[in-house]
């Protein structure tokens, strides 16, 4: 009889903690680790882990305990609460990680596309030199952000992408600062005025004159005030900028004259028209720049600016001169004499290539 009662009572007893609950919390812990919760949400994970380890220790201690079904079980209650909190943390982290991934992917994709587009615009106007190390700096940041993204370190990918975005904006701002004069209406009006004077001179003197537009990379020959020929040209390696000192690779802007004609055997190039750079205005500007400290006192003004043909078929760039294909140079050479005016301007229209590129870059910046 007594034995029967004992068996009945024991059958009614339950373990201190349901084993399934332990396994479920173990699984939640694994999920949190897989979601990199220890690094991504250290506070949440530490709270969970502390509680979990602490309760697990109690579970191990109370392993051999049994309780009556009607007895309250604090340990089980706490484990159930931890289960709920852990589950919420997993859901929260999943959502956060998905959002961060999307944010990083979208920001990176957008920035990489814009960087490529801006690079292409900058190359099209040969503005790369004017930007110094900025494009490489931006490129490195984008590569770093991509690397963090590949490692699933989305917060760092987003942070580095933000840095890249700032670098890209600074790059565009620097280009606008350097080449903004191509979009400056007053400056363009001034260039148009000197171009008109050159053409008028050609008409008045019934003579030839040369006009070069740097933005359009075009040389035009005028005869008696009328356009006769137009040729594509190449400029110095930094030709889009205004010449400031020797070796800067920039092509000067201003009114010059041909001082010498060098035929075959007289020049290293196919043919060459020597210009009177530096003229009085260039010298004045150079002295002013030295006085204001924008160029170093040891800088020199440079010289030997020419309109020339190619040295050989492989040559593709000058150090500040204006270069034509040999066939074009031959045609031009035959039409020009010593004293022919050569006017070099930045641009002749408001809708010039550089201004257009800058406007597009400005739109990119607004999007960023």
């Amino acid at each position: 009889m007594a034995g029967g009662i004992c068996i009945l009572l024991l059958a009614g007893c339950v373990p201190a903690v349901p084993p399934d609950l332990i396994a479920e919390i173990e699984a939640i812990d694994q999920d949190l680790v897989a979601l990199r919760a220890p690094e991504a949400a250290p506070e949440d994970y530490t709270r969970f882990a502390r509680q979990w380890v602490s309760l697990k220790a109690r579970v191990q201690t109370d392993d051999d305990l049994i309780r009556w079904p009607w007895e309250s079980n604090d340990l089980e209650n706490e484990l159930r609460q931890l289960h709920g909190e852990g589950w919420s943390a997993v859901s929260r982290l999943n959502r956060r990680q998905a959002a961060q991934r999307q944010q990083a992917e979208s920001a990176l994709g957008r920035l990489e596309a814009r960087f490529l587009s801006i690079t292409s615009h900058v190359d099209s106007i040969q503005g790369r030199i004017a930007l110094g190390g900025k494009p490489v700096h931006t490129d490195l940041l984008l590569k770093q952000a991509r690397s963090f993204f590949d490692q699933k370190d989305y917060p760092r990918a987003i942070h580095t992408a933000e840095q890249a975005s700032h670098a890209l904006a600074a790059q565009t701002a620097a280009l606008t600062r350097e080449l903004g004069r191509y979009a400056d209406h007053q400056q363009i009006t001034s260039w148009q005025a000197i171009a008109k004077q050159t053409v008028d001179w050609s008409r008045t003197h019934q003579s030839t004159a040369i006009l070069v537009s740097k933005a359009e990379r075009e040389l035009t020959l005028y005869k008696n005030g009328r356009k006769v020929l137009s040729y594509p040209v190449r400029l110095g390696f930094n030709g889009i900028r205004a010449k400031r000192f020797q070796g800067d690779g920039a092509t000067p802007e201003g009114r010059y004259r041909v001082t010498d004609l060098r035929g075959a055997g007289q020049t290293q190039f196919y043919r060459a028209l020597v210009l009177d750079y530096p003229n009085a205005e260039d010298r004045w500007r150079f002295r002013l720049a030295q006085k204001s400290g924008t160029i170093t006192p040891t800088s020199r003004i440079g010289g030997q600016i020419e309109i020339h043909g190619r040295e050989n078929e492989l040559m593709a760039q000058t150090l500040g001169c204006i270069m034509l294909d040999n066939a074009d140079m031959a045609a031009l050479f035959s039409q020009v004499s010593i004293g022919t005016p050569v006017t070099i301007v930045g641009a002749l229209t408001r809708e010039n290539a550089v201004a257009n590129a800058l406007a597009q870059l400005s739109d990119h910046n607004a999007d960023l």
Binding site: S54, N238, L314
Partner: protein, 204 residues
């Protein structure tokens, strides 16, 4: 009678012995020390999961000590405390060793990546030296500027290593390496296009 005379004092001695149970201070301190050393070794960064669980073990230990301390002296039992302290100490030492190992591995990987990036930049610099002056000058001048910027960027890797931010150092080194290779390819292309003719002397 004689037996009763012996039993009563003996029981008292046993009761006193049990009642005078004290927390195992040395073992608790050793466990706390192991946690601190693990933390100082960078475990929170390099073995974040295990470190968090180690903190959990210490929390459980402190809770158990507190529970026992709160009991009447006669009912205190620090056996579980000893067990938890010993386990936490062992675990703390393991986590510290593991963190040190992972940190060393991360540092070694960052240094290796730094070296690879340095060699790539050096190789690109050597290529720039071979490029002829005066030919496709815009591209070559831009390339020189890029390489100078890459060279300067190598310092950032060292800064990250000095800050013990090895993941950042690795990503910077990888970016510099990739960019350096791209610039080298650009130079090779320019060299192929330009040939190796002598440069033209000019003031300009």
């Amino acid at each position: 009678m004689q037996l009763r005379l012996i039993t009563v004092p003996l029981s008292l001695v046993i009761l006193l012995a049990v009642g005078c149970a004290k927390p195992p201070s040395e073992q608790i301190e050793a466990a706390e020390k192991a946690l601190k050393e693990a933390q100082q070794s960078g475990a929170a960064t390099y073995s974040a999961e295990e470190y968090a669980k180690l903190e959990g073990s210490l929390t459980a230990l402190r809770k158990e000590v507190s529970e026992q301390d709160g009991k009447l002296a006669l009912f205190r039992d620090y056996g579980k405390v000893e067990q938890l302290a010993s386990a936490a100490k062992t675990e703390g030492e393991r986590v510290r060793t593991d963190a040190v190992k992972k940190k060393d591995e991360a540092k070694a990987a960052a240094l290796q990546a730094q070296q690879v990036a340095q060699e790539a930049v050096n190789s690109t610099l050597a290529l720039v030296g071979k490029a002829p002056v005066g030919k496709d000058r815009a591209a070559l001048e831009a390339i020189k500027m890029d390489v100078d910027t890459l060279k300067a960027s190598l310092n950032q890797i060292q800064t990250s290593i000095d800050r013990e931010d090895y993941p950042a150092a690795q990503s910077q080194a990888k970016a510099i390496h990739e960019k350096s290779q791209a610039v080298s390819a650009e130079i090779q292309s320019a060299l192929a296009k330009v040939g190796k003719r002598k440069s033209s002397a000019s003031t300009k």
